[in-house]
Each structure stands twice: as structure tokens, then as C-alpha cells.
């Protein structure tokens, strides 16, 4: 069954070996970009000016505020006594974030219902605000779980951070030092991998079309699925090697802890690569010239990047973009990769993301097989 695929795979690697710049092309950009991204694109925030309204004024609420301040992320620049005070502080640029702890916070925390607090952000500086908001959620959650741990009857109390402007309660990740790099480095691995692999495969078929070798292959009895698989497998193996390379740089250089299961990461990477390779091949079958492939590449990769949750939370996007993001394999991979790096979550949590990637990858692969006609028209 694989009789015709093996010669294709071997041929791809022979061509790669003859390409003296291939190694440089495959090694240097990901490492370089990893370093640049890792340092520059941490989107890190600290000492965010914060307005505080503590309606509870209990020991519990003060402890929570202390946590915010001690994290180094927040700096209380204004203390309000009414709701107005918060809005005023934001309007007058005295603060970027407003924290409101509702009356009864301590009681709710001790009881069964979720204790509630509220965070208000200055939307004009959305990037900082959103990241700050992420930290609000994380700090509050950690406080809540610490409180829970302290109590003998460990029925799960919930600290519910009600965030009126932006609901950022998607998947807050466990990042004990609240270090931005830890959060972003796994994301960089995912997005870099996407760019490298789609780039590699988008030209795979169209180049042969331009050179003319595709015409020779088309007159052989090879089946479209054999040809597409013959192109998929080499790109897939290269992608796997790239993933390790980038991942190892991330772990060794940025000292991101790897707490999860290597097997889970491998499974996620395999499924993600399936989608990335198939997407590249689909673009390649849709293009007549390498130039078109390049344009298509650019056109597709940017939205995938933006809608991946790498920098901008998907949960806060308009519906249409959220639907598009639902078929974006990068988005699921980022969940898997962040989860396996930063916390040890298993199949029971990650299976929806894995299943989504498998479905998307499978669909794209089928699409590119159907798209590939053995015809010059």
C-alpha cells in the first residue's frame, strides 16, 4: 500500500540533503525567532497602576489586596470609597486597573457560594489591561485555592472574579511566579512551528509544478492520496524535529519548567503538525506559481496567528472571529502546549483540544487530496 509513498519520501530527503542551505534555513530562523520572541514579546507587565475599592474591609479582603501588591504586578495608586472613585481614577489616568472587592467577601469566601470581586480596566491600553486582567484572575484564584487548602472541610469554594468589560476566565494557567515568559515561550513554540511548517509545505507542490517535474509524476499511475502522503510525511518528520529543537531552546534558555507529560506533548504536536502540513499542502495545491503560494501563505498565516490566543484572548473576540478561531489548529495546540509545559494536565482535560486538532488536520488533508488533480488544468 505504501509502495509508491516510500520513493517519494526518500526523494524529498535526498533533495533536502543536496540543498546546502536547507540546514541553515531550518535551524537558524526558529532559534533566532525563539530568542527574539522570548525576550521581546513577553508582553510582560509589572507595577500596573491600580485603583482599589474595598467594600468588605475585612482581614480576608486585605490579605487579597496584599497579594496583589506583593506580586509586583500591581501598585495601588488610588483608594476609592465609592464606585465613582474607580471610574474617576481610570478616567484621569490615575489607574489602568480598578479592583472592587464587594461587601461580604470574607463571609462568602468562608461559605459555599463564590466570593466575588470585580476588576475594571482601562480599555484604551487594552494590551496591558488584558494582561493585567489575566494576573487578577490568577492571583485571585490562587488566593482562593490557598484559602480552601487552609480549611478542613475542603468543599471547593470558588472565588469568582466578575470582570465586566472583558471576560477573561477562559483558561487561566498555573504560573506560580506569574512570569510572563513562562506563559509566552510555549506559545512561541506553537506559532513558530506553524510558520516554519506551513512555509515549508506551501511550496512543496507548486515548486514541482513550476520546475516541470510534477508533469512527469502526473503521467505515472500514482494516486493523488499517495502523492499527498508522500509530501506530508517528510514535512511532518521535519516539523517534529523542529518542535523538539524549539522546545529544547525554550526549556534550556528560558528555563521554562516542563512539568507535564512528554507523551502528551508529543501527541499534541503530532496532531498539530498534521493540520499545519495539510494546510500548507492545501495552499500549495491551490497555487499555480510560487508567488501565489507566498501570497496565500501570508494571507492565511497572519489571521491564524492573531486568532490563536497567543497574544489576544479569543474569549474577548466578536462571535465571527471566535467561530473562525474554532477551526484554527494553532489555538488548540497552544492550549495543549501551555498545559503540558506549565501544568501536568492529562487526557481527561485536553481531549477536546486534541480531538479538534485531529478533526481539523484530517479535514485539511482530505481537502488537499481532493484538490490535487492529476491534470495541468
Amino acid at each position: 500500500m505504501f509502495a509508491r509513498i516510500w520513493p517519494l519520501v526518500r526523494k524529498e530527503f535526498q533533495e533536502l540533503r543536496r540543498d546546502r542551505y536547507a540546514l541553515i534555513r531550518l535551524l537558524v530562523p526558529p532559534i533566532l525567532q525563539m530568542l527574539i520572541f522570548g525576550y521581546a514579546a513577553t508582553f510582560d507587565v509589572s507595577h500596573v497602576s491600580t485603583a482599589l475599592l474595598d467594600r468588605d474591609n475585612s482581614q480576608a479582603s486585605r490579605a487579597l489586596v496584599a497579594r496583589f501588591v506583593d506580586s509586583g504586578r500591581f501598585r495601588i495608586t488610588a483608594t476609592a470609597h465609592r464606585d465613582r472613585g474607580i471610574t474617576d481614577a481610570l478616567e484621569n489616568d490615575k489607574a489602568v486597573v480598578g479592583l472592587v472587592i464587594h461587601a461580604g467577601f470574607a463571609r462568602e469566601l468562608a461559605g459555599n457560594g463564590g466570593a466575588s470581586m470585580q476588576a475594571v480596566v482601562d480599555g484604551t491600553n487594552s494590551n496591558t489591561a488584558l494582561i493585567a486582567l489575566g494576573y487578577v484572575g490568577q492571583i485571585a484564584n490562587r488566593y482562593a485555592s490557598d484559602q480552601a487548602a487552609l480549611r478542613a472541610d475542603s468543599r471547593q469554594p470558588l472565588l469568582y472574579a466578575r470582570l465586566p468589560q472583558v471576560g477573561l476566565q477562559g483558561r487561566a494557567l498555573y504560573n506560580p511566579n506569574l512570569d510572563g515568559k513562562w506563559f509566552f515561550v510555549p506559545g512561541v513554540i506553537g506559532t513558530l512551528l506553524l510558520m516554519m511548517i506551513v512555509n515549508l509545505t506551501a511550496f512543496a507542490i507548486v515548486r514541482e509544478r513550476e520546475v516541470g517535474t510534477l508533469e512527469q509524476i502526473m503521467v505515472t499511475p500514482i494516486r493523488p492520496w499517495e502523492f499527498i502522503l508522500g509530501k506530508t510525511i517528510p514535512a511532518f518528520l521535519i516539523g517534529l524535529a523542529e518542535a523538539w529543537l524549539i522546545g529544547i531552546v525554550g526549556v534550556l534558555w528560558f528555563r521554562v519548567p516542563f512539568t507535564g507529560s512528554v507523551w502528551m506533548l508529543l501527541l499534541g504536536t503530532v496532531l498539530f503538525l498534521l493540520g499545519a502540513v495539510a494546510l500548507g499542502l492545501l495552499l500549495s495545491t491551490l497555487s499555480r506559481t510560487q508567488q501565489q503560494a507566498f501570497a496565500a501563505n501570508f494571507f492565511v498565516l497572519n489571521p491564524l496567528f492573531i486568532l490563536s490566543g497567543f497574544a489576544f484572548p479569543i474569549a474577548s473576540m466578536p462571535d465571527v472571529l471566535r467561530w473562525i478561531a474554532a477551526v484554527n489548529p494553532v489555538r488548540y495546540y497552544l492550549v495543549v502546549i501551555r498545559a503540558t509545559f506549565l501544568k501536568d494536565v492529562g487526557l481527561s482535560v485536553l481531549w477536546p483540544d486534541l480531538a479538534a486538532m485531529a478533526a481539523i488536520g484530517g479535514a485539511l488533508l482530505v481537502a488537499s487530496i481532493l484538490r490535487f488533480h492529476k491534470s495541468l488544468e
Partner: protein, 320 residues
């Protein structure tokens, strides 16, 4: 005469039309090729030769008409056809960055040549291409003639019964061309049907049959001998020792003169078939006061035939 899958000919084409948008690349082409026959297609650039071969290989779908290759309708079952054919495209299409052996191994694998026969077939193709000893050479570093022979080797490794060769000898030196045609004749003797296109007139003479194609139409078709003797529709005379420029300028359009073409230092004049064409030409030259040394009947070459026929085909009056 209709073409269907039961026809004994290896290739049978009928009313083949190919349009690219408004442009008509093939305009009702029909012909047949028997097993073991070598049929050559000759025609100017853009005549539609490559388009024809691509349709027969199932790479392009015909707009109208039918093409049966190896007993199979190409438009219906291109994959069935592909098992039986070998194809050398006009543009060199092996992998330049792979070695000779790697290319052979690749196509042997794609054609699923059984492992027991693989080594022997690759050896055969290698020897045939004369590339023994250069197995490890990168194909991109080979010269034109070697490349073409290797391409032929790759195209016949799976022992196809039908071979399509699109200008296989363009850019190849005369010695290598000669060798190439010896190979084609060897294959034909083994029963392989060959459809070959070329721009070289001398090569046309190596074919069993020749078809002249111009602007998508099959102008004329027959054995080289048939074409030489019947296609001109007149008598060919050779005029020597005259003033070429004046003769070329003055003769066309004179009564009885069908065609005039320079041929080396002499002139070929095609006269109406009559009892004594040479006498009428002498008479004509005398009347116009044109000097010459000698007039004698000339054996028409295929080039004469083609130049003449393309001219006839392009005259509006003779277009059907």
C-alpha cells in the same frame, strides 16, 4: 469511421478539439497509429503538438472529440492509460538535484517495478542512456543530450507499450540525435508504439508516418514517400546559377508557378503538373529575361513539402 475502445490501433484519435478560453489550440484532429509504428508530428511553434500529446497522456481534457490510447478512452479512464504509457515532456522534467541513479530509483519506485526486476531495469535504462559509470553524477550537471537520454530511460523503465516523446532531441547534437533515433527504432521493433514530435526535417524521415500539424489542424499525413510524391501537387524543379534575389522576387505569381523557395545556392520552383514543366519554366524565364545556368527536376525533400503545405493551409481560399 468511428473510434471506440475496440479499435485495434494503439492510438486512435477522432475530431479532437482543445480550446483554451477563446483560443483554439486543436481544431478537429484525427489519426490512427498501429502497434509498433513510429508516427512523427511536425509543425511550427504553437501548432498544438504538445497540447495533443498532453491530451493523449490524460494531462489535459479534450474540449470535444475522442482519444483512445491502448484501447482506453483517455477522457474516461486516464489512470488506465497511464499504466501503459511512457512520456517525455518537451521541458526536461527529472530532478536536477538528484543523481542519475536516484532519479532512476525514484521512477522505478513510482512505477512499482517489482524488486526482483528493479536492478535489471535500472541497469538497462542506464546502459541505454550511455550513462554507465556516471551513476552518481547529479542530473543537473549533465549536458543536454545525456539528460534527454536519461529522460527516455526513465520513461521506458516500466516497459510501456506506448511512448510519447515531445521534441526529445531538441538541443541535442547530431551524433546523439542519431543514437537517440536508433533507440526509438529498437523500441519500435519490440512492438512499442511511438508518437514523437520534432522540428527537424531529417528526423521526420526516420518515422514510419508523418503528420504535419499547423494552427491546431492536421494538414497532411502519410509515409515520407507518400508525402514527397503526392503532397506537392506539382513538379519540383531546381534552378541553378541564377540571381537568387531577383528570381525569388519575380517568379511568384507567374502563371504555372505554385511556389518558390531558396534552397542553398539554388532555387526550388514548384510548377503546375503538366507534360513538360521544365520547358514552361525555361520559357517563362526567357520571357522575363532572367538568367540561369541549369534547370533540372528535383527530388522533393520533406522540407519542401512542409513549407509548401503550411503555405497552402494558411491561404484563406484553401481553408475549408
Amino acid at each position: 469511421m468511428t473510434v471506440d475502445a475496440t479499435t485495434p490501433d494503439r492510438i486512435a484519435v477522432e475530431g479532437l478539439v482543445k480550446r483554451f478560453g477563446e483560443f483554439v489550440a486543436l481544431d478537429g484532429v484525427g489519426f490512427r497509429i498501429r502497434a509498433g509504428e513510429i508516427m512523427g508530428f511536425i509543425g511550427p511553434n504553437g501548432a498544438g503538438k504538445s497540447t495533443l500529446i498532453r491530451i493523449l497522456c490524460g494531462l489535459l481534457a479534450p474540449t470535444a472529440g475522442r482519444a483512445i490510447v491502448g484501447g482506453i478512452d483517455v477522457a474516461r479512464d486516464p489512470e488506465g492509460v497511464r499504466e501503459q504509457i511512457g512520456y517525455m515532456s518537451q521541458k526536461f522534467s527529472l530532478y536536477d538535484d538528484l543523481s542519475v541513479m536516484e532519479n532512476l530509483r525514484f521512477f522505478a519506485g513510482i512505477y512499482r517495478i517489482p524488486p526482483s526486476q528493479r536492478a535489471e531495469r535500472m541497469r538497462f535504462a542506464l546502459d541505454m542512456a550511455g550513462l554507465a559509470g556516471r551513476e552518481q553524477a547529479l542530473v543537473g550537471t549533465l549536458s543536454g543530450g545525456w539528460k534527454q537520454r536519461l529522460a527516455l530511460g526513465c520513461a521506458i523503465m516500466h516497459e510501456p507499450r506506448i511512448l510519447f516523446l515531445d521534441e526529445p532531441t531538441s538541443g541535442v547534437d547530431p551524433m546523439s540525435r542519431r543514437r537517440f533515433w536508433d533507440l526509438i527504432h529498437t523500441l519500435s521493433a519490440q512492438g512499442v508504439t511511438v508518437l514523437v514530435t520534432t522540428h527537424y526535417m531529417d528526423e521526420a524521415a526516420y518515422c514510419n508516418r508523418i503528420a504535419l500539424i499547423d494552427r491546431g489542424r492536421l494538414v497532411i499525413e502519410g509515409t515520407p514517400a507518400e508525402l514527397k510524391h503526392h503532397a506537392l501537387g506539382g513538379q519540383l524543379l531546381r534552378v541553378e546559377g541564377g540571381e537568387l534575389g531577383r528570381l525569388l522576387h519575380d517568379l511568384p505569381g507567374e502563371p504555372g508557378v505554385l511556389d518558390v523557395a531558396a534552397y542553398g545556392n539554388a532555387l526550388h520552383v514548384l510548377m503546375h503538373e503538366d507534360a513538360d514543366a521544365a520547358a514552361s519554366l525555361r520559357h517563362l524565364l526567357a520571357r522575363r529575361g532572367l538568367a540561369y545556368a541549369r534547370i533540372e527536376p528535383a527530388e522533393p525533400t520533406l522540407e519542401d513539402v512542409f513549407v509548401h503545405m503550411v503555405g497552402v493551409a494558411r491561404q484563406p481560399a484553401s481553408a475549408p
